[in-house]
Subunit: 217 residues, 2 copies
């Protein structure tokens, strides 16, 4: 299974490409914004594709050609203006979804934010609510497609070392979660088709990740 990792140079993305390259059944294509970010991924033996999410949708489509799965883990980050929230978190995500469809990719894993419901938009403070709106519409857009989607809603991301254990369910109490465990959760979702058509929140916990994301267990 070849996986296009969009936002590969982010912290979750880097963990994910490393895990994919370490797995037996998958290989990664790292989608990055700048050529100088490529060496890290080349060192892992991964392909790279240099694309800016503000590029035309056909540029993204070209990067998605020949892959089986797209993982969207890009984000505009907290240090950019709200214009980038619209252009990357919303429009970049939707363009990636459309590019996946056109390129014939069937599987799509979206890294969303913890709560993107209508209620969450209303309850968010003024500084955070535009981000929730952007993620809300990206999630809604994905759910309205025929893609085999999984939407992962991580809790408060930390750089703590991963434990391999999480608490995952459609609704869990808000808590921290290491980025490394989110990357492992993405990998486990790709390895388990029962995660298709599902969305769940993920925080730190006491259940092995493979079991935590399997709704049958």
């Amino acid at each position: 299974m070849k996986v296009l990792v969009v936002g590969a140079n982010g912290q979750i993305g880097k963990h994910l490409v490393r895990f994919i390259q370490g797995s037996d059944s998958m290989e990664a294509r790292a989608m990055i914004r700048k050529q100088e970010q490529a060496s890290f991924f080349e060192g892992l033996g991964a392909e790279t594709a240099v694309v800016d999410l503000e590029d035309d949708v056909d540029v993204i489509e070209k990067a998605a050609e020949g892959v089986d799965t797209v993982v969207f883990t890009a984000g505009s980050g907290g240090n950019t203006g709200k214009d980038k929230t619209l252009m990357i978190d919303l429009d970049g995500a939707v363009k990636t979804i459309e590019a996946a469809k056109t390129a014939g990719v069937k599987r799509f894993v979206m890294i969303s934010s913890f709560d993107t419901t209508r209620r969450a938009i209303q309850e968010a403070n003024e500084n955070f609510s535009p981000y929730v709106v952007a993620k809300h519409y990206a999630d809604e857009w994905l759910k309205a497609t025929d893609l085999d989607y999984t939407i992962i809603h991580p809790g408060l991301l930390t750089n703590d070392e991963g434990t391999g254990m999480v608490n995952a369910a459609p609704e869990v109490n808000r808590d921290e979660v290491p980025r490394e465990d989110i990357a492992r959760t993405i990998l486990a979702s790709l390895e388990n088709d029962k995660s298709i058509g599902k969305e769940f929140q993920v925080v730190k916990g006491a259940t092995a990740i493979k079991d935590a994301i399997d709704p049958m267990k």
Copy 2:
């Protein structure tokens, strides 16, 4: 026909409420953000509803109860940040669409921007593109509903006196158009069911508005 005018205190909105109150078959409910804006509309004999588009969707729904048509002509304006573009031009519009559905309103007229296509997003400069993205998604959201929609894409808005004449078609050359003529175009759309399910650009021109928006003429 009772018409909820969302963004009534804007320049197009004020013209529109005036025209509606002057018509034989319609009456307006002006949705405004602040109570102190009410006197202008009360002077025209129109109802008012004080609602902030950042309020919960059920507050908007209450304002939409008992009307036959919703016209969305609100905008965050050029002097606010890109956060307001997301919260008003995108999320405020979508909440109004959802509120119309829940309130049982069938007819919805959206005042969009001149070009909200994917191509327009890519061609817009960095300062303008977030606004185009917001309007693009609002338009797409509306088209995906079962509402009897009309989407009006005005050219460069001016405060020139209206002429009662425009050039309207799915694609016209970009040009100026007086706000007063856009308000008349909205009124004409409400009076002609052939505008349902249609979207068209409107600039100044030489065709009487009633004829210009009638695709059969």
